[in-house]
């Protein structure tokens, strides 16, 4: 793996993906707006809800932070792939000493990094706002500083983003137009979010906060899925496959 070549691919992907305002807004602004809405909603609910239920409610917001990088990741991944296919720019790229692994790594990092970093910034805004809000003086609000949230946001969310990027590549390689590929990726992102939401929701419904064991199981499951999709992607990014199987 040559870091210079991976970095070159990352910069190329970003140039392609972020040339439109829609992509910039989706990746950079959408998470911040959602976070501000969450803070506002939490303040509103605090004044109207039974304080006993609030820790479980917080876990719902955890889902939002976990799902936050998925849409931006899918957008960057799909845009890069579809533009490469439309311009037929992959063949000249594959003639260079760039390896399939470097190309895949560059594309995954380009897709995952901005959305993940922005989701971390959003989490930072959230925790900062919470630490300055009057209604968070109660000890029950301490949970979002805890290990569960940190594992969810700094481990599971990036892993999910990598999974979505890999799925986006698999879909894009078989799809002829960008909107269809983007729709499919969004559907899969929504499905992943829904699955997490069901898991967290079940815990919340039973009036207890998210058990750390459950998160670790989710993390293990995502790692397993990542390995499987990565193996598929490595096969997909072989030169002969790119030239003849990508539609």
């Amino acid at each position: 793996m040559n870091p210079q070549r991976i970095l070159t691919i990352i910069l190329k992907e970003w140039t392609q993906a972020f040339r439109t305002w829609s992509a910039r807004l989706l990746v950079f602004l959408y998470p911040v707006v959602v976070t501000l809405l969450v803070i506002r909603l939490l303040a509103y609910l605090h004044s109207r809800m039974d304080p006993e239920r609030i820790p479980a409610m917080l876990d719902y917001y955890l889902v939002i932070f976990m799902a936050m990088p998925l849409i931006g990741t899918a957008k960057v991944a799909v845009t890069g792939m579809m533009e490469d296919k439309a311009a037929r720019s992959l063949e000249p790229l594959l003639v260079t000493p760039l390896t399939s692994g470097e190309l895949l790594a560059g594309k995954i990092l380009a897709a995952v990094t901005p959305a993940t970093l922005v989701s971390w910034v959003a989490y930072g805004i959230f925790t900062t706002a919470m630490s300055h809000a009057d209604f968070t003086q109660s000890p029950i609000f301490g949970s979002f500083h805890g290990m569960v949230w940190r594992v969810a946001i700094f481990v599971i969310a990036p892993l999910l983003a990598v999974l979505v990027a890999a799925i986006a590549f698999l879909i894009s390689s078989r799809t002829k137009d960008a909107p269809n590929a983007m729709n499919s990726c969004n559907e899969i992102s929504a499905l992943i979010t829904l699955l997490i939401f069901v898991g967290v929701g079940t815990a919340a419904y039973r009036h207890y906060a998210m058990p750390p064991g459950l998160l670790m199981e989710i993390a293990a499951g995502v790692v397993l899925l990542n390995v499987l999709t990565f193996l598929l992607c490595v096969k997909l990014f072989q030169r002969e496959t790119v030239l003849f199987k990508w539609k």
Binding site: N2, R5, K12
Partner: protein, 310 residues
């Protein structure tokens, strides 16, 4: 130096699949321009893709400057450049950034200097900061050629470099190719432009899934048509044609209008004898010249013979 031995590529599919390249053996010397000619679907692009390590051969071997495809792919990729059928440029990036991107992928330390040199040589300097999406087809093609040659590859594969270009741009591209040749690069040129192949190439290979023939255009001309001489006479008599044909060194003689066509092996030695014979018979010779057959005639004859042999 390109060395190809029994290279075969079979694509699997229904009915046993398709053999795109069948037992190709060929060598191209360093610093040569080799013209690879053949009809559409003959397997020329597949051959290029095999030699640039984009495809794996089904059997056979090939090497580029001693590096074997399938074994030394990374070394080969660092030493070859490819102009693909479609330019495959990034439309949203500037011309300069398109080239710089590839310079970085090739690990070039002086990429900027080389990028600027090529942009100037190919008359793209004034538009270097413009998005490639705003370029004409000719400008895109020039940029794609610059990209292929940017890292000073030992061997350059050019697939239809002047296809669809206007004469001015095509000439600029041809001059650029000759400039690259003068720097000692080996150039493997796929083209349908036979006039261009005739002008640029040291050797020609005619290919239709298998290599039919590979030689210099001049040798191919001689092999197919011999050295045909044209004698333009003030008037022509049938017995003069017979008389010339009866000379022991004449392979063929025919008349067309007031022109006498004579095929011989050594015109420098034998033309004076023909002139003496004709003048002795009372002929008045106005002009003598060697008939030049176009590469198109050679190509069509070879393809036709190959098809009838099959």
């Amino acid at each position: 130096m390109i060395e190809i031995k029994n290279l075969t590529k079979r694509f699997s599919g229904r009915g046993g699949g398709i053999v795109a390249v069948d037992n190709l053996s060929l060598s191209v010397a360093p610093g040569q321009i080799f013209g690879f000619l053949g009809p559409n679907g003959a397997g020329k692009t597949t051959t290029i893709r095999l030699l640039t390590c984009l495809l794996r051969p089904t059997s056979g071997t090939a090497s580029i400057n001693g590096f074997v495809i399938g074994r030394d792919d990374q070394s080969i990729r660092a030493r070859v450049g490819l102009l693909t059928e479609t330019p495959g440029l990034y439309d949203t990036m500037s011309a300069e950034n398109n080239l710089t991107l590839f310079g970085r992928l090739y690990g070039m330390r002086n990429a900027t200097k080389q990028v600027h040199l090529f942009l100037k040589m190919l008359e793209l300097w004034d538009r270097r900061r413009d998005a490639v999406g705003t370029f004409s087809k000719g400008m895109k093609q020039k940029l794609a050629i610059a990209r292929a040659a940017l890292h000073n590859p030992d061997v350059l594969f050019l697939d239809e470099p002047t296809s669809g270009l206007d004469p001015d741009v095509a000439k600029l591209v041809r001059d650029f190719i000759l400039e690259l040749k003068s720097d000692g690069r080996t150039i493997f040129l796929c083209t349908h432009n036979l006039d261009e192949a005739d002008r640029l190439c040291d050797r020609i290979g005619i290919f239709k899934h298998r290599l039919i023939v590979a030689d210099s255009a001049m040798n191919l001309r001689r092999r197919l048509f011999g050295r045909e001489q044209m004698f333009r006479l003030r008037r022509i008599e049938t017995e003069w044609v017979t008389s010339v044909y009866n000379l022991p060194f004449v392979n063929q003689a025919r008349a067309a209008g007031n022109q006498l066509y004579v095929r011989v092996d050594d015109p420098e030695e034998q033309n004076p004898l023909i002139v003496r014979q004709l003048v002795g018979l009372g002929a008045e010779i106005q002009y003598i010249g060697e008939v030049s057959h176009s590469l198109e005639e050679i190509y069509l004859r070879i393809i036709e013979e190959a098809e009838s042999a099959n």
